[in-house]
């Protein structure tokens, strides 16, 4: 049971945060009603019965997807380190920092080349 205690605590914390955020939002956030807000949520864009332009999705989605995949999967290398980071010591930490720096270099490139802008 001891093993599962941290998980339980984390679950309680997570649930608490979610409930707190949802209940506090109507009181603190600005209230600007428009039609888009009442629509079904579709990643922040206006839902359309069919993709614009006869069944094909614009290439912009493809670029976003590509950027997402590459940065998303890189994080897999953090996983073994996260499992044993205390045992890997300083060496592991330095290596991980170096790894994240190289990922950040790629990120800086994407950002400066306006790969993160939608339009």
């Amino acid at each position: 049971m001891d093993l599962y205690a941290p998980i339980l605590v984390l679950a309680v914390l997570a649930a608490g945060f979610a409930i707190f955020s949802v209940t506090i939002a109507p009181f603190t956030g600005p209230k600007r009603w428009n039609r888009a807000k009442l629509d079904a949520y579709e990643c922040g864009i206006e839902p359309t019965p069919q993709p614009v332009g006869g069944g094909r999705f614009p290439l912009k989605y493809m670029i976003t997807a590509m950027l997402f995949i590459v940065f998303d999967i890189e994080i897999i290398f953090l996983y073994p380190w996260a499992v044993a980071f205390d045992r890997l010591g300083v060496f592991g930490l330095v290596e991980m920092v170096l790894f994240i720096v190289t990922v950040l270099v790629a990120y800086a490139y994407v950002w400066r080349r306006k790969g993160l802008d939608w339009d």
């Binding site: 045992r87 060496f91 270099v105 800086a108 400066r112």
Partner: protein
């Protein structure tokens, strides 16, 4: 939890060539991100050249400090004699190719602009340049260094991909004939990914049999021998498919002419020379170090592949009408000649002889190839480079010097005495004969003769045919291009007339064979 994990030991000094190249590539990406557009090229160029020079210098230093007796980085990379020699060749050839790549006429102004669109006109008018070429090239070169020296299959696979992925992109960046270039890129990518999937499954099966992916561990486990031989044999075959694809051995040569023709010629020069060198480094390691104990199983198949490669390369070269495609098939044939050296194994002395022959051949062939493609970049007409052979008719009358140099490179490909090609072929065939592969050598000599026919045909076309009225013009070469041609010609002469120092160096590099 229990205890700390021992930090791995990493021989930074030995691995510094690789680290320098990758470090410079990452700095190159940062330059792309933050430097203003007009400055980028003037920063990239010296950075790239300096990185390659620095890596070469540290390679020499590593060799001068005496060879290590065990693999570096916890057995992942083996920096041994052959590795250092191969690194040296790759770095020099990459350096030379960068001089060629520095030509604005080679690369597309903006890769993202659709060919023929107003965006493209706009990009060309503004004088944009796709300067990502330089970091991509450095990543590819770094991948080659890892690929050729990897001492376990995982490092080899990562090296293979780091080498290939930038090359797929570079292939699609030609300034002229962009559709052709993009098509080459797609073909190279799909076939390359297909073949690396084979390599990977082969790796999985070999891992399944031996329980390890380190080349040494695999070699040891073969000696122990345990059950499931089928697993091992299928795995070996699939590893072979992946590696032979990169070499362009028949029947996996289909991509080579298409990619060589479509890619920007400067990139073709880089690919044709360095990828072959790196891939042979990897082939030798896998088949000699890891699968040496399985010799009796893979050798017969390799015999067939070597024969097929030599014959297919030589015969299909004859039917080509495009100069770059012809050089591609010539490269296929040369891969076949090199494979005869891979097969010629035996006792340690015999292995050292074959290895040194292959190393010398790779150096000689690499220089000649870069030089030949450099000449191709200079023969142009309105639509860009004049690839079709008929356009080369009478070139010797218009610019005898250039045609003379090209003829010299072709003679080196053919293996005429007093060129580097002769000693390369001689060394490999001599090793094959003493390794007992006489029939292979006979096929090799015959297909050399067939190929020589074609090379001579081009020479005749250049010197004894009348030039077409609207024939191509010879572009005034940039300093870089003329330096490349001069260097390559000098290397071809020196290795052909006075090869002893390089032969000795190759002998020395090969004497201790691969460390395990």
């Amino acid at each position: 939890m229990n205890g700390t994990i021992q930090a791995p030991t990493i021989e930074y000094a030995l691995l510094s060539p690789m680290l320098i190249v990758f470090g410079a590539a990452i700095i190159g990406v940062l330059i792309e991100a933050f430097a203003p557009r007009y400055l980028r090229k003037s920063i990239h160029m010296p950075l790239t050249l300096l990185a390659l020079l620095g890596a070469f210098a540290t390679t020499i230093l590593g060799a001068a400090n005496g060879l290590p007796t065990s693999a570096s980085a916890m057995g992942a990379v083996a920096v041994d004699g052959p590795a250092l020699f191969v690194w040296g060749i790759i770095l020099i050839l990459a350096f030379v190719s960068v001089l060629l790549i520095n030509d604005d006429e080679q690369f597309v102004a903006q890769a993202a602009a659709v060919p023929g669109s107003s965006d493209e006109e706009e990009a060309v008018r503004s004088g944009y340049a796709q300067t990502e070429v330089y970091p991509l090239l450095l990543f590819a070169v770094g991948g080659m260094l890892l690929f050729s020296s990897a001492n376990d299959l995982l490092a080899m696979f990562v090296g293979l991909e780091v080498m290939s992925l930038p090359l797929y992109l570079l292939c699609g960046l030609a300034r002229r004939r962009r559709l052709l270039s993009q098509e080459a890129s797609v073909k190279y990518f799909l076939l390359g990914a297909f073949s690396s999937a084979f390599f990977l499954y082969g790796m999985a099966l070999v891992y399944g049999y031996t329980g390890t992916v380190s080349l040494r561990g695999i070699g040891d486990a073969l000696g122990a021998g345990s059950g499931q031989e089928t697993l091992l044999l299928i795995g070996t075959a699939m590893l072979g498919v992946g590696l032979l694809f990169k070499i362009g051995a028949a029947p996996f040569q289909a991509w080579k002419p298409d990619v060589y023709q479509g890619a920007p010629t400067a990139v073709t020069a880089l690919m044709a020379s360095t990828v072959l060198v790196a891939a042979f480094g990897a082939v030798l390691r896998v088949f000699w170090v890891a699968l040496g104990g399985l010799e009796w199983n893979w050798q017969p198949v390799m015999w067939g592949i070597a024969i097929l490669t030599m014959v297919v390369g030589a015969i299909l070269a004859i039917t080509q009408t495009d100069i770059k495609r012809m050089l591609a098939y010539s490269s296929v044939a040369h891969a076949g000649f090199l494979l005869t050296g891979v097969i010629a194994t035996g006792a340690a002395a015999q292995n050292a002889k074959a290895l040194s022959a292959i190393l010398f051949y790779l150096a000689a062939y690499g220089f000649t190839t870069v030089g030949a493609f450099a000449v191709v970049t200079m023969v142009r007409d309105a639509g860009g480079e004049a690839g079709h052979l008929s356009r080369w008719a009478g070139l010797g009358k218009r610019s005898p010097f250039l045609a003379g140099v090209f003829a010299f490179f072709l003679l080196a490909f053919a293996g005429i005495p007093l060129t580097s090609g002769f000693f390369g072929k001689y060394a490999v065939f001599a090793a094959a004969v003493s390794g007992g592969a006489v029939p292979l050598v006979v096929v090799g000599v015959v297909s050399s003769a067939i190929a020589a026919f074609f090379y001579v045909r081009v020479i005749v076309l250049m010197f004894f045919n009348d030039p077409a009225a609207d024939g191509p013009s010879i572009a005034v070469p940039t300093v870089g291009t003329s330096a490349v041609v001069a260097l390559a010609a000098a290397a071809t002469v020196v290795l052909g007339v006075f090869p002893q120092p390089v032969l000795d160096l190759a002998d020395q590099a090969a004497s201790a064979l691969f460390i395990r």
